[in-house]
Amino acid sequence: MWYYAARRILMSIPIALGVTVVCYALVLLAPGDPIQSLLPPDASPEDAAYLRKVYGFDKPIPIQYLLWLQRALSGDLGISLQTNRPVMLEVLNALSNTFVISVGAVLLAFSLAFILGTIAAYHIGKPADRIATGVAVVGVSVPNYWLGIVLVIVFAVKLGVLPATGMGTSGSASFSIFDWNQAKYAVLPILTMSLVPLGIIMRTTRSAVAEVLNNDFVQMLRAKGLGPLAVLRHAIWNALPQVLTVMGLQLGYLVGGSILVETIFTWPGTGFLMSKAILTRDVPVLQGAILVLSLTFVTINLMVDLLQTAVDPRIKRA
């Protein structure tokens, strides 16, 4: 197992490097001179020449990349064109807000999906299964940016029980999920976000539990006289590692793909930061956010893989 863990960690290094290459290439792909996109529009030619030298844009591209990578590794992702604050600071602040709603959404999705999926697997082919599977398909087919708008209409406008947008008066500085006055701002984003993982985790649970229930030992348990709940207890423990893996991957997708939900609810996370950066052509922030998010995604995937090997010794890795 330790051998596998070491190998897996080593293998993710070239992937992470590849990710940095892509993030760097994105700015080169952008139309226009990269220096122009780094500078405010009213900058003088001397400033441009100075920055060209500072950023090393007068050197060949591979050298430029290495210089950029060196700065990025030391935590310097440049300065935001809009706020003049370090990009790293802005992105990390936003990342913690994104984690609040992503983790909330995954936990909510997991608890609902696991119950629904287990019920579906136990009654496979029966109406209960049809209904649960239907919920799952609807979950992955609904455009969640639209669902967010509908939820705002229902809960914020018609019922007036939850705030529509934002993060509360105290903002992200002292946000606490245990304080209802602040936590209520996270309810609608979490609900909206949880729908896609709900569908996917439910499908995985259904097929994993059904597969376990098809085993001979389950028939033996039934022959022994165990009731449905006791039989399911055995099935659930066998299916859990597979479901937890999918849940971990979904967390990664939510953290990386929070832009739509955060834009609707103006939740000050990384997605909202990116959509602002796109509108204002704030390239350093956009590039920094993409880099941090994709590296976070790689790290989450790595941890999920390692945890899975630790939890489930049946998995033999090459």
Binding site: P14, I15, A16, G18, V19, V21, V22, C23, L26, V27, L29, A30, P31, I124, G125, D129, V137, V138, V140, S141, V142, P143, Y145, W146, L147, I149, V150, V152, I153, V157, T204, S207, A210, E211, N214, G252, Y253, V255, G256, G257, I259, L260, T263, M274, S275, A277, I278, L279, V283, L286, I290, L293, S294, F297, V298, N301
Partner: protein, 299 residues
Amino acid sequence: MTDVSAFRLPLFRRKREAREVRGYWASVVNRLRYDYVTLFFLTIILAIILLAIFAPLLAPFDPTKTSMAYRMKPVGFRNFILGTDELGRDMLSRLLWGGRTSLMMGLVPVAAAMVIGGLLGVIAGFRGGWVNSAIMRTMDVFYAFPSVLLAVAISGTLGGGSKNGMIALTLVFIPSICRVAESATTQVRGLDFVEAARASGASTMSIIWHHILGNVLGPVFIFASSLISVSILLGSGLSFLGLGVEPPTPDWGLMLSTLRAGIYVQPLVCALPGVAIFITSLSFNLVSDGLRQAMDVKA
């Protein structure tokens, strides 16, 4: 994932089938004939496609003609069957025309990614060795981006517009399709009939054409069909963020975004584009599931 729900035929049907010898496609069609859910949603997809194709003939009004007098009118107001939007344009006409752009955003990137990703996957799987490593490790890097993030990143840097949106979505789908094609090719490549073909002097191209492709296309096609709904959702999402289709053109995602201001005035009218996206994406999802079962592909 093994699917255990594949339903068992009653005994008497099985006996009859045993006498009747069916080809692969005949048996797929036969299985589909009894899958009413898939057939129902297949009809809906065909209807949506037909509505989009004949939008110029069916739309009662010009989808871009604005009218200050008739802004945000409710469903069924005079001649506006589905009401009007924030600039007084007829919603029904815009939804019909918008179906064209939204379907294009769903189908074109997936088709393009299927050709490019499938080709790369077959090459990687068939050649093996360093060619395989080079192609698949590159794919791994793109796989390390969450799909929404990659789509936003590419179209965010390239700039808006439906063409850039489609390029972004194509790049998002290539790695996963390439993986499916590669693993299917690798499985087939080692089988005896490929060996036999090579021993009897068949060229590489003819082996790929006659022996590999037939076994790879099924899984790739089924996988790609499951991406259509993702592509529609992502494409509308990009337009919603202002990264996809440009404003005067009607598109469901863009309509949702521009109608957000009118939510409090006409909630029903503003919800319509979302309903259209939902029905289309749901239909593609369910048909893809049905095809997967009928074609008996595990992917």
